[in-house]
Every structure is written in structure tokens, then in C-alpha cells.
Amino acid sequence: MGATAWLRRWVTTTNHKDIGLLYLFTALYFGMAGGALSLLIRVQLSVPNNNFLSAIYYDQAVTMHGLIMIFWFLSPLAVGFFNYLVPLQIGAKDLAFPRLNALSYWFFLSGGILAIASFFVPGGSAASGWTTYQPLSSPAFQPGPGPTLAYVGLLLLAVSVTLGSVNIITSILWMRAKGMGLTKLPMFTWFALFTTGAMLYAFPTLIAAFALNASDRIIGTSFFSSPAVLSIPGIDPSILWDDLFWFFGHPEVYIVLLPAFGVIADIIPSFTGRPLAGRNWILISTALVVLPLSFGVWMHHMFLTGIPVTLQDSFDISTEAISIPFGIIIIAFVLSLVRGRIQFKTPFLFVLGAVVLFIIGGLMGVFLSSPVLDRVFNGSYFVVSHFHYVMVGATIFGLFAAIYYWLPRMTGRMYNETLGRVHFLISFVGFNVLYAPMMLLSDMPRRIFTYPNTGDLGIVNEIATIGAFVFVLAQTLLAYNVVHTWFRGTPSGPNPWGSKDLEWTSDAEARTPAVSGEIAPRGGWIGQLSAATPSGGAGVVPVSAEGHAGHASIRPFALGVGVTLFFLGVPFYPSMGGIGTMVIGALVVFYTMISWARDDLRERFSVPDEGEERFPFAGLPKVKLGMWVFLSSEVILFGTLIAAYLYLREAVVGWPLASSIHNIPLGTANTIILLSSGFTMAMAVYSIKKGDQKALLLWLAATFVLGSVFMGIKLSEWSDLTSAGFSITSANPLYQLVASAYYFLVGLHGAHVTAGLIVMVYLMKKTLSGTYTKDSHGAIENFALYWAFVDIVWCFIFPLFYLL
């Protein structure tokens, strides 16, 4: 394959395995970048009073190390495995929305490039810690476009994660092969579902928080830290930031951790020769306790912010409660080893390491759930040790196990076992030498670039630094082993571990010469399916040859390029260079969207619907399910912004009456217009269900007109308001805050309406060409869901901003 063909293949691919590999290798690259930053941090801290890094460079290194490791390494590494393995494990040819999958990857890559590029931009990179606390992340403390670039990169990453979650959830719920009921799903796929479910509800809050922050930094709104907002008595927006960030941030811990648990649950049976003990208990504990509680413990990160004692108590209880299901899960893992014929191969060693490190980190976490003990440990290296044991130790060791375990599936070749074991041993020793000493540093504050030469601080830090170098350098063994296996490994055979899961029996795509011929279809199904159907998989539809022909598209990549350019320009707004870059990016996005729509109109890209096991969504079309999943994330996005508005409003005494700002009759009339457009859209669906194409076109046109009138009135209203002095630069600081909230939320809603209007043009064009019929009108129904959601959001915005 020539270089051009090679490049074209990777740039246009929408194949889940390709995207999975892209995620895996990109995540490992970002992991190296984050690891390099960690070495800089440890060198700086190796001796007291060191000046290897200045304070600001140290802060940047710490911040970007955290952001890169969490957002561009740990989670994406898991997402890479989700991409590669979930379709194989459920017996699907691909994920539900292949182009959306590719788009998620390019957004992820774009976000990472922008974040790392921020180091080379005036102002330097973000330096306020991965929590980006306010007001530290405000322009007052971090001026310049550099930090803004890092934050918009993170925003792009969050969008990527949300899109990816919609895709994977829909795939698991809708694309399963016949016979693959929910009770038979492999554990890794179950945990992929849990993880992406948590992502779906957590990341919109991150999007909301960073969009508000970016708005403060770029446009000059006053949510968190402008001199105006800080001059208003009674308001403390830093608490608001804590609320928003940690509502996302604590579930993020489980988002990072749960994929490793899925890996562990899949790997243990392969190396013990026994089924997983307490499989149902693990699933029930995770689904019914871990996931709901993960969204109900976040305020334990805020014990020292002055929140009411009753809140502290309730979050103390919920935090301690969440350790119970984890106890059940760990006991199930340990019981699975009892009386097993254990083979101490590399993947199993890493699994064992992950479990041990999780137990250590988890026990440390129980101390931190207590408000009293938290006063001692908060902000110290004890906390650093705790979350590295949990988030890094358990997760990384689990995901390294996944690499060794599934490498033969990906390459058809076996890795070097001796090298793998040495890698485990050095990593385990290095990790503990790095983080165990930090348990002793409960009196050393974190995020400070140096420390005095008192007590044992010097020697403990020196030992930790040695551990860091051992741990990081050990990863070169992994890199060598993977590369060597890929090109020169010995053939592994189709199922080297004797696994019972489906991915080892489905056919392998002849993707690379290394794979070709190594793994052949063996017919039928084994494992959980054959256990249920001892006759050899009767009633199960085997996956046929990979159906990826014509399954390529340049559009996701092009859209990624356009969005990257746009976001690259954003931090430099309003300079000419910034605006120019944004305009070029917007043009690329616009052109690509048109081309994407044209591809669909000409049916250049089609993915056959498949999957016969759809319980409990049997009657629902695929895209409709995807739309509902997406809208549930939108509920959180708008809900978070409304929560932020309510916080600000409650905090400020003397919030102006709506009637003193807005034209109530005009706002009421406009609300009636938008609600009427909801009715006309419902009539459009009703018409096409009856097979009346002419009526469909008329109702669509009516909806378009009403939506356009709504936007027109909205713009004229904005024009009148700004003329009257109601703007984010009002002379009165309070009005700056009120205007910021109003324009941001109403503007975001307006952006949704505008996007809907654009889609409506496309739908009308397709209606004119007679595409939609009584039996085939899914796009109309799906769009109607979106439009109704836009109506619902306005049902809350109108009273909150215009009436109360």
C-alpha cells in the first residue's frame, strides 16, 4: 500500500476496528506526553527548594498532566477498546453510527492538539489545576489566549465524548446479534454501557461549565470572576464552579475506572478456568448503586468551601455508601480466584495488580469521605496518593491487562510473555515506590511548586521521584512488546486464552497482512451463547464477512479540520487573525455539512440496519433511539445552565424584575409562536404517517416560517435591549450578570432553533423529491423529537427570564 493510499484509508475510515486502533494509539501518544510532564513535576519535587521549574511552568505542567492523563489518555484508551471490541462482542458489523464514530475520534484528536498547542501560545497553557477552579482560571489570573485554547480544546473533547457515548449506547442496546440477550452480554460490554451511560449524563455538565468559562474569557460575560460580578454583595461564583465541575468530576472517576473493571471481569475467567463469581451481583451493584450514587457524592470535594453542615453530612453518608457496592465487586473478583486453575500470564498479573491497587486506594478514600478527616487530608499529597491509586493504578493496570489480553485478537500474534511479566513487575514496584511514600505526606500541600527542607519531606519526595522514573521508563517495555508483536510476533492461534467471549470467534477482517489468515471464522458461537444453546449456537446469526466496502467517508475528517480551525481562532478573537481563522473554519464546516447532506441525498453512504436482539427497545428504530439518547444528554446540558442561573439569582439580593427589562407582551407572543411551531411539526409527522406528502411539505414549511419568525423577533428584541443599555458591558455590575445569564441561555437556545431551521431546509428538499412515504419517514419523526425538545426548553426559559 502506497503512502497516499495508506493515508487516505486512515483519514476516511469509519470502520470500528480502525477507529478503535486510532483511539488506542492516539491515547498512548497522549499518555507519553502526560507521562513526560509527570517526570518534569517529579524532578522539580525531588529535592527541597528546587528551581528546575519556575512556579508558573510547574503549575502548567501539573494542570496539563492532569487534563491530558484523564481526558486524552485514560478514558480514550478505554474508548478505543469499546470501539474495537463492543461490536465484536455483541455480534454487530459496526457501531450504530459509523460516521459519527469517526467524527468523535477527530474531535478528540483536535481537542488534544489544541490543548497541547496551548503551551506555545502567548499566556502559556492552563495553570489552574485540572479542576480549573474559579477564579484561578479567569483572565485576571491567567491572561492570554493560551489558557483559553486549552479550555476550548477540552470543550471539544467533551463534545466528542458525548457523541461517542450516544453511539456506543445505541449500538449495545440495538445492534446485538440474535441470541445475544442482555443477560448474555460479556462483562466488558456491560461495563462499556455503564461507562458511556455515566459519560452521557456527566459530560454535558462539563460542556456547560467550560462554555460559561470560555464565554467569560472570550466575550467578557460575568459568570465567575469579572470585577463586576465580584463586586456584587453576597455572591461567590467559585462555589458555583465547584458545584458544576464536581457534578461532572466525581462521576468522571468512575468513568475512568469502570472500563478496567469490565476488563478484569472478562479476563479472570480466562485465566482461572472458572466462571466469574457473583456476575449478577456485580452488575446489580454497578447499575443500581454505583452509577446513581456516583452523581450523588460530588460535594465531598467541597467540604471545606463552607457548604451547610447538613449537606456535608448527607454527602458523607452517600460517599461512605458507595464503598459498599465496590466491596461486593472486589469480593466477587477475589472469590472467582478461589479453587481456580490460575495461569499467571501477563494479562492476569496486571489484573491482580489492578485489584490490589484499587483496594489500597479505595481504603484511603473511605477516610476522605469524613468531613472531619477531610479537613486534615484535603489538599495534601495523601489525596494525590489516593486518587492515583484508584484512577491510575487500578485503571492503568486494568487497561494494560486489556492490551496484552486482546493484542492477539488485534494482530493474530502473541506478545513476548517474559517481557510482559518483567513489565508488570517493574511497573508494580515503580508505582508503589512512587505513590506509597505520598501517604506519609499528609502535611505537604499539593499544587505548590517547591517545599522547605524540613523533616522527612526531602527523602520521601526523592524516593517518590525514583519510583516515577522506574514506572515511566518501564512503559518502554510495553511499547517495545506491542511493536515487536505487531510485526514479528509468533502466530497466536484464533483463541489463545480459551476465552468464552464472542470476540474470539467472530471472523477477523483481513486488515493487515499480520492478521490475514491467522484468525478464521470457526462457525457457530461459544461461550455464553453456547452455554445457553449447547447444540452449538442454534438460533444465533453468525457475523458474515466484514461489510465495510463503501464504508468510508472523508466528511468526518473534514468536519474535524473545520472545527479545529474554528476553535483555534476562538482564543484570538477579536484580532483579525483570530476572526480570519474562525471564518475559514466555519466555511470548511459549512461546506462539509452541505457535502455530508449531499452524500445522504445521493445515498453514497449507507449502513445496513442490523441486530435482532433489541430488548428492551424492540419497537424503536435505531436513529430514533439514538435521538432519545442524545436528547437525554441535552436535558442535562440545559438543566445545568438553568441550575447555574438559579444559583446566581438566589445568591444576589435585588435581582431586577423581569418586567423592568423585557417586553413581556412581545416575549409572550414569541413564546406562542414557538409553541405553535411545535404543533405544526407534530402535524407534519401526522401527515406523513397518513402518507400525505403534500401536507407534510406544507406543515414543514409552516414550522420553518414560525421558527424563523421566532428567531427574527428574538434578534429584534436583542437589538432593542442592547440599544437600551442592557448588555454584558452595562454600567451597573448587576446588570452585567443578569445580561450575561440572559444572552447566554437564550442564545444557546437560539442556536438550537437555528440548527433546527437548517435541518428543516434539508428535510423539505427531501420531501420535494418524494423521499418520505407512509412507511419510511424516520427522519421526520426524529427531527420532530428534536424540535419538540427545543419547545420544552423554552417552556422553562420563558418564565424564568421573562416572568419571574
Binding site: 452523581f295 401526522y686 419547545d791 420563558f798
Partner: protein
């Protein structure tokens, strides 16, 4: 679904808007006015979800999928406001 159902939902949502405006302007207690207005807003949202989005005809699992984020959101709203002290 019959046209008259859709028409009724439309009329109800508009009527609810008018009631909201009336309540906001005529009820002097801010808390009472806010409660009445929010109840109307919730009822509008419910009507749109059930009839325009046809949720009442969808499987229970989908209804659950809609309820879960709303529950999380309720927790966020309550806790955020409560964190003011």
C-alpha cells in the same frame, strides 16, 4: 393519533402561557407566583413529551431513560441551590 388531540395540546400549551403571565403579574407573593408558573411550565413540558414526542406510546424502558437524567438534574438543582446555605 387524532388531530384533535394534537390541537388540544397546542391550545393547552398556549393557555398555560397565558396563565403563567397572569399568575406572574397578579400574585404578589414571589414564592407562590414562582410555584404556579413552574407547575404550568412542567405541565407544558409533560404535554409536549407525551403527545408531540409520543412518549406515552414508547416502551417503558425509554420512559425510564427519560426519567433518569431528570432525576439527576433534580439532584443537581436542589444541591446547587442548597449549597448557598
Amino acid at each position: 393519533m387524532k388531530v384533535r388531540v394534537l390541537l388540544s395540546v397546542w391550545l393547552y400549551t398556549i393557555l398555560a402561557v397565558i396563565c403563567e403571565v397572569y399568575a406572574a403579574e397578579s400574585i404578589s407573593s414571589v414564592v407562590t407566583a414562582a410555584s404556579v408558573v413552574i407547575i404550568f411550565a412542567l405541565s407544558q413540558a409533560a404535554a409536549v413529551v407525551l403527545f408531540y414526542m409520543d412518549l406515552r406510546e414508547e416502551p417503558g424502558s425509554l420512559i425510564l431513560m427519560v426519567i433518569i437524567p431528570i432525576m439527576f438534574l433534580a439532584g443537581l438543582l436542589i444541591s446547587v441551590v442548597a449549597s448557598l446555605g
